[in-house]
Symmetry: C2
Subunit: 199 residues, 2 copies
Amino acid sequence: MSPAENATRPGGRTARTRAAVLAAVGEELAEHGYDGLTVDGVAARSGVHRTTVYRRWGTVEGLLVDLLTTGADDSWAPADTGSLEGDLVSLNREVRTALAAAASLTVAVIAASFRMQGAADALSGFWRDRYERSAIVVTRAIERGEVPAGTDAERVLMLATAPLYHQLVLRRQPMSAAVAKRYAEDAAAAARAGIVLQR
Amino acid sequence: MSPAENATRPGGRTARTRAAVLAAVGEELAEHGYDGLTVDGVAARSGVHRTTVYRRWGTVEGLLVDLLTTGADDSWAPADTGSLEGDLVSLNREVRTALAAAASLTVAVIAASFRMQGAADALSGFWRDRYERSAIVVTRAIERGEVPAGTDAERVLMLATAPLYHQLVLRRQPMSAAVAKRYAEDAAAAARAGIVLQR
DNA sequence: TTGTTAATGCGACTGGTGTTGCATTAAGAT
DNA sequence: ATCTTAATGCAACACCAGTCGCATTAACAA
């Protein structure tokens, strides 16, 4: 980022309060979970005044959105293991780790997205970016001749990852790493069998 | 149900109140969506006093849970079309219809489940029941020799339906009936190819 | 019909979230 | 060093959601 950013006065104090507040959000989230996350709690822990938090972030959801966009890793890319199956297994391992954590930031933002449009948009953008970047694992598999040309990347990724979201986030049931891996293997096998073709 | 139910005094007034309130919930939900659903709004529309609603249902989530469990169809069973693919396509059509509706009760309960344990439990139970009943479509396919013995019913159902939940509920992106159908076809094809075996 | 009491109606109250006007502090320019 | 003003601190306030005690209504039993 450029040192000027785009804020009107991004100097030391503003940056400090912002850092203190966002850090407090992470700590409160880990300690009390999403349900126990309140603006007052964050303000008290950060040492910043209630009013300041309300003025700059508005709501709990605003805090989460800021944390999500700030924490987004611009350099993220799916692992390149040399095979589609390996890549998908690696991807599912990452997704499972993010979702199965006791106080998952991802799950917290998902919960927030049902209440606040801003959180929904941030999450939607996050996923769009991730799935676009992930499409390369299918492209590489096509180039290697591992799967047929015309294999639908989006559908392959969906078959691999969607069960994790459904079971861990919506159904709230545990899923072992082995089962998560198996969904990745299923998606890879289906792609290799020429089942997941575009039309 | 037996006429006695299990309430202490289930007579005319109680039943009327309950019916009026639950009807109001449905109407408010259709009119204002989940975000605009408030206890006061429901009470005003139903003509029942605020306090009564609070006493009997506690919160908005309690109202939704009651509506969900009341509306649950005990006789539900997956369609028997004669083929695994047909059965899964039919299933996905049902799921998509339930999720894509403008003011979907299912989506409302999902949203509520992130706030209230009772809603989460009700939803969890609802899904467990549905997936257990749905497993028969794989059993039938095995009996017909359409798919190998040892095909994992749960995984087949997950591959077919999870993408719908992920895209429609979490990513909040539209999904055409054609795409929903394709995921059902993918799952059926993968099962036929012997990819989705238990281990 | 009469009596009992669960269920409901009613109003006042509490607690917590979010807002507003003004004073104070400190970042950045000169 | 001094000035300007954005950012923050502070206290008082408004506003809902949710609760509580008590009065009233009506379901069920006798």
